[in-house]
Amino acid sequence: MTRTDLEHRLRLFFENNVYYSTDDFVNSIQDGYDESIAFSGAIVKATTIPFTAGVSYYDMLTLIPDYIGVHSIFNSVTKRWMIPTSIRKLDQNRNDWETAAGTPEYFVPINHRYVVIYRKPIVPAYGNMYVFYRASAPTLGASTDILIPEDYTACLEDYCIADLLEQQQEFTKAGIHLSTYIEDLEQIRVWIQNQRIPDFQPNLRG
């Protein structure tokens, strides 16, 4: 489905389809797309980031403008995946871990912006890491495909209807569509994160 397709569906929903301008629809669709992609994690990308000598904390949001959260990191020098861990475990390992120089083997996400690595290379041009990350939504063109699975595009449609109705202070109607949007968004999130491999059974072993 493209932005034009969705706009057409919205025009069909609003019986007086000239009441809202094309700009109203475009802005609303883009807002809804930004929000639903950010919250559902529907787009995952990979990119190359060079290790910087002496740097422990990487500002991913500056290095990768569409970064939302880290998925996994591969050290291309050692050809090994880096292992996710936590600050507390690093503290237990050695209390000056931030300053430790060596081969990057572990990483800890701090928040929506920073990721810290342990240990840090101190030689210039050490090499690269491949970062797999959840990405924010791109700007939609008229014929750009919307990267939400077809079954769940009703979610975006509900966002737009709520958004357009609230602009006319139709809060009761908008509230109904907002609730539906919230439920649908949760369904996408759960499907993307948990239900794509029902074959896999998590268990209590490590």
């Binding site: 807002d31 930004d34 929000e35 950010a38 919250f39 994690g41 910087t52 002496g54 740097v55 422990s56 904390y57 500002d59 949001l61 500056t62 939302i68 959260g69 880290v70 998925h71 996994s72 292992i83 996710p84 861990t85 936590s86 600050i87 507390r88 475990k89 690093l90 503290d91 237990q92 390992n93 209390n95 000056d96 931030e98 300053t99 572990y106 996400p109 701090i110 928040n111 929506h112 912006r113 920073y114 840090k120 959840r134 924010s136 939504a137 609230e166 202070q169 809060f171 009761t172 908008a174 509230g175 907002l178 919230i182 999130r189 994160q193 998590p202 209590l204 072993r205 490590g206």
Partner: protein, 233 residues
């Protein structure tokens, strides 16, 4: 027809930032902290909302509570810069909040060296530095200390409209206020999920705390994604 004046909207925009600070402690920040030899109590900048970690010369300074600190230092007291008894001075091992000011912290033992606030806190080394990691206030004038674009505008808008429709007088609409309140709370809860759950490849679990992936086959119950990350409610 204009419903609200610019003055009202600007006031609500300021309120929105404060509300977001309270509801989303998510802006991670590190800074070099100036330390003076012989002084144990310091006032942190107002922007600090919660202390995540302190290091001196690259070594972690461990947090402790005020009662424990009294037992550790029965012969030391700090009332103000003129009235103090600073015994045992060396590299600080512990810090605690200090009752003289809500932003005051006290180091123990009292630092015996001077540290400046010059340097890059994101590339720490073992030099003479004190680095404080914290969660800080949102500051829209600084890109690094702002909320990311995918959440910022809509969250502020929802808060401002919630409070504007709730306000007494012209334009009051309680149905509208309830709608935008729900929207604001939804956006805040989703952003918390991003901070807690973006890291989907990680499974927090109860184990021995070692940096090993696997150690035997004993059960490791999976804990919620916010385990060990108590800032987010």
């Amino acid at each position: 027809m204009m419903i609200w004046t610019d003055e009202v909207l600007e006031m609500l925009a300021e309120d929105a930032e404060q509300a977001i600070n309270v509801d989303l402690a998510c802006i991670y920040h590190r800074f070099m902290f100036t330390i003076t030899a012989g002084t144990s109590v310091y006032t942190l900048p107002d922007k600090v909302r919660s202390i995540e970690r302190i290091t001196i010369k690259g070594q972690k300074v461990w947090p402790c509570n005020w009662e424990d600190l009294q037992l550790l230092t029965p012969g030391t007291v700090f009332v103000n810069s003129g009235t103090k008894i600073e015994t045992s001075q060396s590299r600080s091992l512990f810090y605690a909040l200090h009752p003289t000011n809500i932003h005051d912290i006290r180091f123990y033992p009292t630092p015996n060296e001077n540290f400046t606030n010059v340097g890059d806190p994101y590339s720490p080394d073992t030099g003479d530095k004190c680095i404080i990691s914290c969660m800080r206030n949102v500051d829209s004038s600084d890109a690094i200390s702002s909320l990311p674009a995918y959440i910022d505008r809509r969250t502020r808008k929802a808060y401002i409209l919630w409070r504007a429709f709730f306000k007494e007088g012209k334009g009051q609409n309680l149905k509208g206020a309830a709608y935008y309140k729900k929207k604001y709370e939804f956006l805040v809860s989703q952003f918390r999920k991003i901070n807690e759950g973006a890291f989907i490849s990680k499974r927090y679990c109860l184990d021995d705390g070692e940096l090993a992936i696997e150690r035997g086959n004993y059960p490791k119950p999976t804990l919620p994604p916010n385990f060990e990350r108590v800032n987010y409610r």
